[in-house]
């Protein structure tokens, strides 16, 4: 059937208008696309400028200004997670914990495995007095994903967790975390090992601390600072032979007065230590006798000066007792007796230790050889491994 002419005309008109509309639509699309591109480019540029300004302000320790800058940036790119994170960090730095937490919670919803977000949330929880939550976030940060340099970031998170645990007196937990840090530290990273060493010292584990300093020295044997640190740990641990080795190397690399003094002290200890392994009987006897004589001299001097200067009756009576014990022992001690009787050598050295302890309390700190004698006590008590 042929359509009526009137309908054809109407349809013709409609199709003409529709076609024109489509052409116009295509033109408008092109124009709008160009406008939108320019608009987005401008927005991106503004967002970047404000974010850069925020970074500068945050670096310059102006967190309040940084917050404004990041907010300006976010008004152009509201979904930029990096700027949101920076804003949260700026808010955190400015002490606006609730606001920071809110931003971070939003970021966490979108990326619960993000190491950075979890670390920041750990900081917020830490500062809001929620240690359990903070620890959970720290652990999530350690296990989480990091955009760049993940091993360094994880180590940073672990270090912060260990610090937090130490501050909260959870030494055992901290020790476990630090052991984890040490296990994951690459052998070639000397400064990381050095840092581990200090952490082990903080949890009271000098043996592992020394091992870390030694691991650090493997990467840079001439590092005078690390040599000194290793020497000091060995020295405080009563491991004087090792300490002497490191002090002497440290002095070679960096001959300071302090290091010289420490080296001299260690050498005094080593020279006077009758219990040092590998010594002959004669040498042990000679050193014991020598130490005993030095102890008696120290007691004598202290009795003459200390007793008069000290107003305390208690000090005087302690010195009297010590003098009595010394006189008793002096009757039995001579070179041949010491040579034949190892128990007597021990007894003599114990008295020397007592003398050094008591005299340092009453007559002031021991110096030079007396200090070395005092340190021998550690050797005697077997503190070192």
């Amino acid at each position: 059937m042929t359509p009526e002419p009137q309908h054809i005309v109407s349809r013709y008109l409609q199709q003409r208008v529709l076609l024109l509309s489509l052409i116009l639509l295509a033109l408008l699309f092109v124009v709008t696309a160009a406008l939108a591109r320019a608009y987005h480019a401008r927005e991106d540029a503004l967002a970047k400028d404000w974010a850069d300004k925020g970074n500068s302000d945050l670096t310059a320790n102006k967190p309040a200004m940084a917050c404004d800058d990041y907010r300006n940036s976010l008004s152009y790119v509201p979904d930029n997670p990096n700027v949101q994170l920076h804003l949260a960090e700026a808010l955190l730095a400015d002490g606006r914990l609730t606001e920071a937490r809110s931003y971070l919670a939003n970021l966490w919803d979108r990326a619960p495995g993000s190491g950075e977000v979890n670390l920041d949330l750990a900081h917020v929880s830490m500062r809001m007095g929620d240690p359990e939550q903070a620890i959970r976030y720290f652990r999530s940060a350690i296990l989480g994903s990091w955009e760049a340099d993940s091993s360094r970031q994880r180590r940073k998170a672990r270090l912060q967790l260990s610090e937090f645990l130490l501050d909260n007196r959870r030494t055992n937990d901290a020790q476990a975390v630090i052991a984890g840090i040490a296990a994951d530290t690459p052998p070639e990273n000397g400064s990381a090992h050095e840092e581990n060493g200090h952490l082990f010292l903080r949890v009271g584990d000098p043996v592992k601390a020394l091992a870390e300093f030694e691991a650090a020295l493997q990467t840079d044997p001439q590092n005078s600072e690390w040599l000194a640190e290793a020497a000091q740990v060995a020295f405080e641990n009563g491991n004087y032979s090792v300490a002497e080795n490191y002090f002497s190397r440290a002095v070679r690399e960096n001959p300071t007065d302090d290091l010289h003094a420490s080296l001299a002290l260690v050498r005094d200890v080593l020279r006077n230590d009758p219990f040092l392994s590998g010594l002959s009987e004669e040498e042990q006897t000679r050193r014991s006798w020598n130490d005993f004589q030095l102890g008696l001299d120290r007691l004598k001097k202290c009795t003459s000066t200390g007793a008069s200067s000290s107003s305390s009756n208690n000090a005087s009576s302690t010195l009297d007792t010590l003098n009595t014990d010394a006189q008793d022992l002096q009757k039995r001690v001579n070179l041949s007796a010491l040579g034949m009787n190892p128990d007597l050598r021990n007894e003599a050295m114990q008295l020397v230790s007592r003398i050094e302890d008591v005299t340092s309390q009453i007559c002031g700190p021991a110096t030079d050889i007396d200090q070395a004698l005092k340190l021998l006590k550690k050797q005697q008590e077997g503190i070192h491994p």
Partner: protein, 593 residues
């Protein structure tokens, strides 16, 4: 033909013509279309749907350009920082107010106001006619006004621009008057969907506020237009929800009590906000005409003064809503921001500055919600969660109380935030705010504004709540039982003697009903033996049947030409429930009034 009225700006609306011959003769370059026109048959219904998509795309593009224009105006006038320099804050809104007032008064008078009522007027008064000049005027003046920091939003203008684009296309296509009327809401939904990036809310708003009914003929086109415009908008400006909110979970059922309190406060404040606008708008409009050139500038100056201390109260304020949703303000600051925004938005709106109320309403709601949440959290930390969910719920609650669109407000919160978990508190709080607003303000804001503009537009709220009379309210029991088609004439005569009805109902075994007039019975009986069955003598057409739940308006249409109609139950037995006549229907209407 119905006389065509003039739109408010005085532009004469051209009457649509059905004769397109002259147009065709001008289309020299399109002769090749003739074979295509013959081969492609597009019914008006299908054309309407296709048009809805085209309108959606046009509106989406227009709104994208509008949003970009606002942003560029803001950058040019106020700078790129959220807190602009003081000198600009003080001078720019006032200066821009002068420019906008001049443009509006001289060229675009219809661009005044938000645009929602103008679109309603287009549907109900101007046969769907929205001058295209209004689209241009709205685009220009709102870009400058909002970009300069006037406290208004881009959504309602987008709605009107969408309606204008739709109307222009419809006129070009010489659509029928009915279709033209329907096109304005289609375009309005498209504009709003693109502006809000929320197609569901846009569809609901247009249905709740502009057309008032779930008209099947319009719904498909409205949805298509809204979706296509939202797609266009998202492809250019991104598909992310308008606001990014932290995840919400209802901690304790008692938390809902806290949201109920928010509903009460928001209801009261939305009422106060409505009163301010309703009282001051006519006062300012009644001032001499020359003052209309200065009112937006004066409002701008006052806004600038407020903006010196509270820059957040300027412009649409979306970034600050986002900040409130992230608990960035204390409850005291939130309360100050909420009240400041009420003040600045009232100044902008009552001064006649073109711009929308959606964004400021959301802003105020978010701030008030956050403030209530923060306050409750301070005193009842175990009941109230953080500030953010309260700000979120507050947006919808204040919107429900102020705009009086309770369903739209719920979906709007969900769509603009992408958070569905918040629905329960939103529903509770919105309902309370809406009920309070209704209780103390009989007429909704848009209806009052229409009346202030000397237009009596239909109130969608009233329409929704009008008592609908149904057949069950009017039918009665027949005073005699119905006859069967197998009954004899003698039986019919016998029944007729006892009946007072003019018409005796006759039921056929097939379920068909017929009527035999009482006055005709003696004549029929004279022509046929008394034993003749009624089916043999009844030649009248079948009667329409009604059901008790049908609207009485429908019954009124069906009863034309019939004295009595049967009312049949919908259940399987198709039992006669009663009968209904024109006097019964009229009596029911009389009782209801």
């Amino acid at each position: 033909m119905k006389e065509r009225k003039e739109p408010v700006d005085g532009t004469t609306a051209p009457a649509p013509t059905s004769d397109a011959t002259s147009e065709v003769s001008n289309g020299i370059g399109f002769k090749w279309l003739s074979p295509l026109a013959r081969s492609v048959k597009l019914s008006e219904g299908n054309l309407f749907l296709l048009l809805a998509i085209i309108i959606g795309i046009f509106s989406g593009l227009a709104v994208v350009c509008f949003r970009i224009a606002i942003e560029w105006a803001r950058l040019a006038l106020l700078g790129s920082a959220l807190s602009p320099p003081h000198i600009r804050v003080l001078l720019v809104p006032a200066g821009a107010g002068l420019v906008v007032a001049f443009l509006v008064q001289k060229f675009f008078l219809a661009a005044r106001g938000s645009g929602v009522n103008q679109t309603k007027a287009a549907v109900y008064v101007f046969d769907g006619y929205v001058p295209f000049r209004t689209v241009i005027g709205k685009f220009l003046t709102c870009s400058i006004a909002i970009g300069s920091g006037q406290s208004l939003g881009p959504e309602d203008p987008s709605l009107q621009m969408g309606a204008g684009i739709a109307s222009a296309l419809g006129r070009r296509l010489k659509l029928s008057r009915d279709k033209l009327r329907l096109l304005a809401p289609v375009g309005a939904a498209a504009g709003l969907a693109a502006a809000f990036n929320a197609p569901i809310s846009a569809v609901l708003f247009v249905i709740e506020e502009v057309i008032g009914t779930w008209s099947a003929s319009a719904l498909g086109a409205i949805v298509l237009a809204a979706v296509s415009s939202a797609v266009v908008m998202r492809s250019f400006l991104g598909g992310e929800p308008m606001f990014r909110v932290p995840a919400y979970t209802l901690g304790h059922p008692a938390e809902l009590l806290a949201y109920a309190v928010l509903g009460i406060v928001s209801g009261v404040l939305s009422l106060a906000f409505t009163k301010i606008i309703v009282i001051f708008r006519p006062i300012l409009r009644a001032q001499p005409e020359w003052t209309h050139y200065l009112q937006p500038a004066a409002a701008g100056l006052l806004i600038g003064l407020i903006g010196l201390k509270i820059p957040q109260s300027m412009g649409a304020g979306y970034p600050y809503i986002d900040q409130a949703l992230h608990s960035e303000y204390t409850w005291q600051i939130l309360a100050i921001l909420g009240f400041a925004k009420i003040l600045t938005t009232s100044l902008s709106f009552v001064s006649g500055t073109p711009g929308g109320m959606f964004a400021p309403t959301l802003f105020i709601g978010a701030m008030i919600g956050g403030a209530i949440g923060g306050l409750e959290h301070q005193f009842f930390p175990q009941v109230s969660a953080s500030v953010a969910p309260f700000a979120l719920v507050g947006m919808g609650t204040f919107f429900a109380g102020f705009m009086r669109v309770p369903i739209t407000s719920v979906f709007m919160v969900v769509e603009t935030t992408g958070s569905y978990s918040i629905v329960l508190p939103v529903m509770i709080s919105n309902t309370i705010a809406y009920l309070i607003s209704r209780r103390y303000q009989d007429v909704a804001l848009f209806d009052i504004l229409a009346r202030q503009d000397n237009m009596e537009l239909p109130s969608m709220e009233e329409q929704r709540e009008q008592i609908v009379l149904r057949v069950e309210d009017a039918f009665r029991q027949p005073n005699v039982p119905p006859l069967q088609a197998s009954d004899t004439l003698a039986r019919a005569l016998e029944i007729a003697e006892t009946s007072s009805e003019d018409c005796l109902l006759v039921r056929f075994p097939t379920g068909r009903w017929a009527c035999i007039a009482r006055k005709d019975l003696p004549e029929i009986a004279a022509k046929h033996p008394k034993e003749t069955q009624l089916r043999e003598v009844l030649t009248t057409a079948r009667l329409p049947i009604l059901h008790p739940d049908q609207r009485l308006d429908d019954a009124l249409r069906f009863i034309q030409g019939h004295q009595l109609l049967p009312v049949i139950g919908r259940a399987g037995s198709r039992k006669l429930e009663g009968v209904i006549s024109l006097p019964d229907i009229l009596a029911a209407y009389q009782r209801a009034s």
